[in-house]
């Protein structure tokens, strides 16, 4: 089942396509079968289960005890831990891919986390909600309040998302820490990829979320 077959048939990206979330299918499609993967912030293990169906050796870290216990009860190799503090325990090159799905904006030190992802994994797959999405901009510009969307319903005072960024911001960070972007996909409000031939500012405006496949850049 390819991503292209699945995505246009669904509504928002987090909608389920059969058993799995559309953005998870996109992430899973970026991972080569047979590889070893760490999913940081794996929630209840949906993505790990999807990866397992593709013969991928998946491990997970999850902050919430309930999430971890549900994962372990599904037979997944998941440990309770915090992306900000526990990634340092993993050795260099321990995984082929390290995935950070919709979690970057909730970390205390996103830059450090990103650096760790690409230290312990040869590649990293990072997805995050784009704060430059037109609906966000419109809510701040016209409404004059912190944006809230269907996928990000929390108010400013109880949100876990303390480090929002736009696609442009993220690309700049990748440049700054010498990270190579191997593939990048922005998904619009309906979970459809924004066409590749359009310029960056269009992505940054119409991408509701973005998924990046990253690798270590060459020496600067």
């Amino acid at each position: 089942m390819s991503v292209q077959e699945v995505l246009p048939l669904n509504g928002v990206a987090t909608a389920r396509s059969g058993q799995f979330r559309a953005d998870h299918l996109l992430v899973a499609e970026m991972v080569k079968p047979g590889s070893k993967v760490l999913d940081v912030g794996c929630g209840e293990g949906d993505l790990l289960q999807l990866l397992e169906t593709r013969g991928i050796d998946g491990r997970g870290i999850e902050l919430s005890r309930e999430g971890v216990n549900r994962c372990v009860a599904k037979g997944l190799a998941v440990v309770q831990g915090d992306a900000d503090t526990d990634l340092v325990n993993y050795p260099d090159d321990a995984f082929d891919y390290v995935i950070l799905s919709q979690t970057l904006q909730a970390t205390r030190q996103p830059k450090l986390v990103l650096e760790n992802l690409l230290r312990i994994g040869r590649r990293a797959i990072v997805s995050f909600p784009n704060f430059g999405f037109w609906k966000m901009r419109l809510q701040l510009l016209i409404g004059g309040h912190m944006p809230r969307t269907e996928n990000l319903p929390a108010t400013w005072y109880d949100t876990a998302n303390i480090h929002f960024c736009t696609i442009k911001d993220f690309v700049q960070l990748c440049d700054e820490i010498n990270v190579k972007m191997e593939r990048s996909v922005a998904l619009d409000l309906y979970g459809r990829p924004v066409p590749l031939n359009l310029p960056w500012w269009v992505w940054n405006m119409f991408g509701e979320q973005a998924v990046f496949l990253l690798s270590r850049g060459g020496g600067k």
């Binding site: 971890v68 216990n69 994962c71 599904k74 997944l76 190799a77 998941v78 526990d86 993993y90 050795p91």
Partner: protein, 400 residues
């Protein structure tokens, strides 16, 4: 002042207990002088015997064996009626028909540890050199010694790789020692409420228990057996102190509060006015019926010495370098004897070794004892972990 009752004498005589020591109502593996057990203290223990129970059947390719490691005061009777106390097996919540470790699927082995007193050679056994009970002449043993003996038993049973090694507390220490010493022989490891080393606080509690035993005049420098007596008062006090560490403030409060035992008002004496006192006295006196005082000294000592990192240049991760075993580590929120921080240190070391590890902390107010109690979330996790390992191992589980 009212009457003061001390801890009651045991209902089971020393003779009945000592019968299980040398002639256990279990299967026994004898190891003769040609197969000594090399102990960490430098002594070759020989001859020696291991008493063990098995449940279920070994499959044709010998791939479904599960070794259960018992805790400090446990024994091999994990899932059958205890021959001395007549009580159900100590882990029938986890092991047995319809349980996560079901004899229908697995060949389950549980052996009494070396140094114990339920049929494996220990300080209560007869020293063949003298014809008398070993007592304190028995060499000091360690957790690695226990595991080395278990490995000899597993060899004897013709099993190369264990599908799983499972244990809590001191049993969990043995699980970890198995993976550190024989990584290729352990396909999956379920380590519950344990640690890779015994903490200073835990050593301190053990010392308290040992001193209680030694302070009993009936102990006689460990030579009580020759006099036909047993320091049951000292051992009972040791058990009472230890039992407190297995519980939690919240659990004690919920179970007993400040409620009185069979009375309305305080008696203004040192009788067991409070239910919690009565409960502890019962725990102490029932324990001495089935346990040998010297064995208690030796086994607590073995736990004290346990420190996997120290055996690997002080770096815990080195103990697990390149290990292929699948791990599941479980801790309980209210366990202050083996707190979650200990399990987390283990998990970090396993992560650093790129081991496949699951780690769940289970919320309960029942303290360290939770691993022996009916905690459904723990059973779900154990079952799923073993099923997933079984799938990876290619075990075909029979239909329920």
């Amino acid at each position: 002042m009212g009457s003061v009752k001390s801890i009651p004498s045991p209902a089971i005589s020393a003779d009945e207990r000592s019968h299980e020591v040398d002639h256990p109502s279990s299967q026994v593996a004898h190891f003769g002088t040609e197969q000594p057990l090399r102990l960490d203290c430098g002594v070759d223990l020989s001859p020696f015997q291991i008493a063990y129970q098995t449940y279920g059947e070994l499959n044709a390719d010998r791939s479904n064996a599960v070794l259960i490691c018992h805790a400090l005061t446990g024994d091999q009777h994990v899932a059958n009626v205890h021959p001395v106390t007549g009580k159900p097996g100590w882990w029938e919540t986890l092991v047995g028909p319809g349980r996560p470790i079901d004899p229908k699927h697995y060949f389950i082995i549980c052996s009494n540890v070396i140094g114990g007193c339920m049929g494996s050679t220990g300080p209560a056994s007869i020293n063949p050199a003298t014809g008398k009970v070993w007592g304190l002449d028995f060499p000091v043993i360690t957790i690695p010694d226990m595991v080395r003996a278990q490995a000899m038993l597993i060899d004897r049973l013709g099993i190369d790789t264990l599908f799983a090694v499972v244990g809590g507390s001191m049993g969990g220490m043995q699980v970890l020692q198995w993976t550190a010493a024989y990584p290729a022989r352990v396909y999956s490891a379920l380590a519950i409420a344990c640690a890779t080393r015994h903490s200073a606080q835990n050593i301190a509690f053990h010392e308290l228990g040992r001193q209680a035993v030694m302070a009993d005049p009936d102990w006689h420098g460990g030579g009580y057996a020759d006099r036909g007596i047993h320091p049951h008062r000292g051992l009972a006090v040791a058990r009472m102190a230890a039992h407190i560490t297995y519980l939690s403030d919240a659990a004690l409060h919920r179970k007993f509060g400040r409620r009185m035992q069979d009375r309305e008002l305080p008696t203004f004496s040192f009788d067991a006015d409070f239910q919690v006192e009565s409960y502890l006295r019962y725990q102490g006196s029932s324990f001495v019926e089935r346990f040998d005082a010297n064995a208690y000294l030796y086994l607590t000592r073995a736990m004290d010495y346990f420190d996997i990192a120290a055996d690997h240049g002080g770096v815990l991760a080195k103990a697990f370098a390149g290990i292929q075993t699948r791990f599941c580590v479980v801790s309980f929120t209210s366990d202050w004897l083996f707190p979650t921080s200990e399990s987390r240190a283990l998990v970090h070391a396993l992560n650093a070794s790129s081991a496949r590890v699951s780690f769940a902390e289970i919320e309960t107010d029942r303290g360290h004892d939770a691993f022996l109690l009916d905690v459904p979330e723990f059973f779900d996790i154990s079952r799923a972990f073993l099923q997933s390992a079984g799938k990876a191992r290619g075990l075909t589980l029979k239909d329920r």
